[in-house]
């Protein structure tokens, strides 16, 4: 399967090719492939345990695949590369974590959190340049530098903390940003603001973004492309609009039907839903390598044979 050539013309920054990850007998990833392009976001959607976090960790170099290949700007970096290659990768791929509070060191101020990446990846510059850099970073994520700089994590709200986390990731000037459920631990009324911030940052800095979530409704808000995962496999992927409007795989359909839409449940229907859910799960679980094309950029994995 080859992704549709993206409008920017540039090759993928990150490409996963048939990535496998086994933890002993458990196969967390069974042949996962997708690509990340500059200035575009890809949403990775699925229930917990489907393998999306494992993918994120592999891309963030916090874990190594058991099989398959990881390409960075066309270079095969699956195995541990030379020190300078690793350092370059580190500089280029940053992550925003799910828990805004535990992502910040409670012992230090916001200023410290932002000056460290600047110091490590900037050039040895005078003190003033750092102050300037920190102020700019804070402003770019919508925080008031004068007020926020000297605060400790526990003095900030959840939304503010997450903005600081995003600022820290941006301080390194990466080309790839992995956002692992960045809003699931935030209050509902501020989630959209954070997602809008991520979308804006992606556009302005031409970042290749991987947006991981279990909430498929937010995917449309942030990502041009979507990949739906179940039991370690990618079951449906392509243009977000196409996949959400015409879900072809039964699991995607199940997922979409379960999203709360405010309409009352049909009473007496629970047994039917339960049965349907179980059936879809057992149909979607077996491994399959057959891929069907549904649209120009819309693919689904055919159902595998039951074991």
């Amino acid at each position: 399967m080859r992704p549709q050539a993206n409008p920017y013309g540039a090759g993928p920054v990150i490409r996963l090719k048939k990535i496998e990850r086994h933890f002993g007998a458990v196969r967390a990833l069974k042949g996962v492939s997708f690509s990340l392009f500059p200035g575009r976001a890809l949403a990775l959607v699925g229930e917990s345990g489907c393998g999306k976090t494992t993918c994120a960790r592999i891309i963030a170099r916090l874990d190594r695949p058991t099989g398959g290949a990881l390409f960075f700007r066309g270079q095969d970096l699956t195995a541990r590369g030379q020190a300078k290659d690793e350092h370059l990768y580190r500089k280029n791929v940053q992550m925003v974590f799910q828990d805004p509070f535990s992502s910040l060191n409670p012992a230090f101020t916001v200023s410290h959190h932002l000056s460290r990446p600047l110091r490590l990846h900037g050039h040895s510059a005078p003190r003033a340049a750092f102050e300037e850099g920190i102020a700019q970073l804070l402003a770019s994520v919508g925080l008031d530098p004068a007020v926020t700089k000297h605060k400790f994590p526990h003095e900030l709200s959840g939304g503010q903390r997450q903005r600081v986390n995003i600022a820290r990731a941006l301080a390194v000037q990466p080309s790839v940003l992995v956002a692992d459920e960045p809003t699931s631990m935030l209050d509902v009324s501020i989630r959209k603001d954070i997602l809008d911030l991520l979308a804006r940052v992606k556009r302005e800095k031409e970042l290749a973004m991987l947006y991981i979530t279990h909430d498929i409704a937010t995917a449309a808000h942030v990502a041009e492309e979507i990949v739906v995962m179940f039991a370690g496999q990618t079951v449906e992927w392509g243009d977000t609009d196409s996949v959400l409007a015409n879900p072809a795989h039964p699991y995607t359909q199940l997922l979409l039907s379960a999203v709360p839409d405010g309409r009352p449940f049909v009473r007496g229907d629970s047994a039917r839903f339960l049965e349907q859910a179980e059936k879809v799960r057992s149909l979607s679980r077996p491994e399959s390598t057959v891929i069907e094309q549904i649209g120009p950029n819309h693919f689904k994995r055919a159902l595998g044979a039951a074991t």
Binding site: R90, M95, D99, N105, F152
Partner: protein, 300 residues
């Protein structure tokens, strides 16, 4: 680390403990001023009870107990604190490295920790001392330090393991911080309460260990310390002849130091575990709840 000091000062227990330690420390420091003269000098008749002239009485050899107490504090406190600090540094460093690096390093350090843990401190010291004849404060300090760090190392390792999996450590790795910086600059400040507990416990332990050795006669009889005071008092059968001040003074010194440190320890405990904090609000809540429960029962 201003966030660490504030809670200490806010707790009454800590302030009391701090005062005790500071007073004892100042006393030791200003020994030449507040108890001038040679502590070993014979200044009075043997085993005199406390009087205006000799506030804490005299020893069998006619030495001024008060003077011995003040000068002895110098040695005891100095060795106790120095050894306590050494134990804490060793234990914390080993625990941090073992907890953070993991893998083989952790396995090796764990083995070493367990091996040293098994070594019985005092019998080893006694053994070494009986070969050497007498053991000076420096040697005592080194041997106690080298055999007492495992307890702190274990605690630190456990806490480091817990912190290592927190996202901010992963984030530091991702922005490219070197491992040593993550261990000593990012993780260590979060262990301050634990280090505090470790330090206090180690000092008390070192003080008591040192005193015990000297009491058993392995100290240097020419140096005056609370331990040698006890040794001399014991040898002169002070209790049997009723000279309680001879034993009482050094014992009180050790007890007071222990008390001061223990009070400080409560606070570190409370910082480390906020659920133990007994602020005025909590006390008020308990009082109100009890009153209400009584009222409701009465209505039945």
């Amino acid at each position: 680390m201003n966030f660490a000091l504030q809670p200490i000062l806010a707790q009454k227990k800590a302030v009391a403990g701090l005062i005790i330690i500071v007073v004892l420390g100042l006393m030791a420091l200003f020994a030449p001023v507040i108890a001038p003269g040679e502590p070993a000098a014979r200044v009075g008749r043997s085993h005199q009870p406390p009087s205006v002239e000799h506030v804490m009485g005299t020893t069998k050899m006619g030495r001024d107990v008060y003077r011995q107490f003040v000068w002895g504090a110098r040695t005891s406190l100095a060795v106790g604190f120095a050894t306590g600090i050494a134990i804490t540094i060793l234990g914390t460093a080993i625990g941090l490295i073992a907890g953070y690096v993991g893998g083989r390093t952790d396995a090796v350090l764990d083995l070493v920790t367990n091996a040293v843990l098994v070594i019985p401190n005092l019998p080893l010291l006694i053994l070494l001392a009986s070969f050497a004849g007498t053991v000076g404060p420096m040697t005592i300090m080194v041997i106690i330090a080298l055999t007492s760090w495992p307890w702190g190392a274990r605690m630190t390792r456990a806490q480091t393991l817990a912190l290592r999996n927190r996202d901010f450590v992963t984030a530091s790795k991702m922005i490219g911080e070197p491992a040593w910086r993550i261990i000593f600059v990012e993780i260590l400040p979060n262990l301050t309460p634990l280090v505090g507990i470790n330090l206090v416990g180690s000092i008390i332990y070192a003080l008591v260990a040192q005193t015990t050795l000297e009491y058993l006669g392995f100290g240097d009889p020419l140096k005056v310390s609370w331990g040698t005071m006890l040794y001399n008092a014991q040898n002169s059968s002070a209790i049997m002849v009723g000279a309680w001040w001879d034993i009482g003074a050094p014992a009180a010194g050790i007890a007071l130091t222990g008390l001061g440190l223990a009070l400080l320890n409560f606070t570190f405990d409370e910082i480390a575990n906020p659920q133990l904090r007994s602020g005025p609000a909590l006390t008020r809540w308990f009082r109100l709840t009890r009153a209400r429960n009584r009222q409701l029962e009465a209505r039945r």
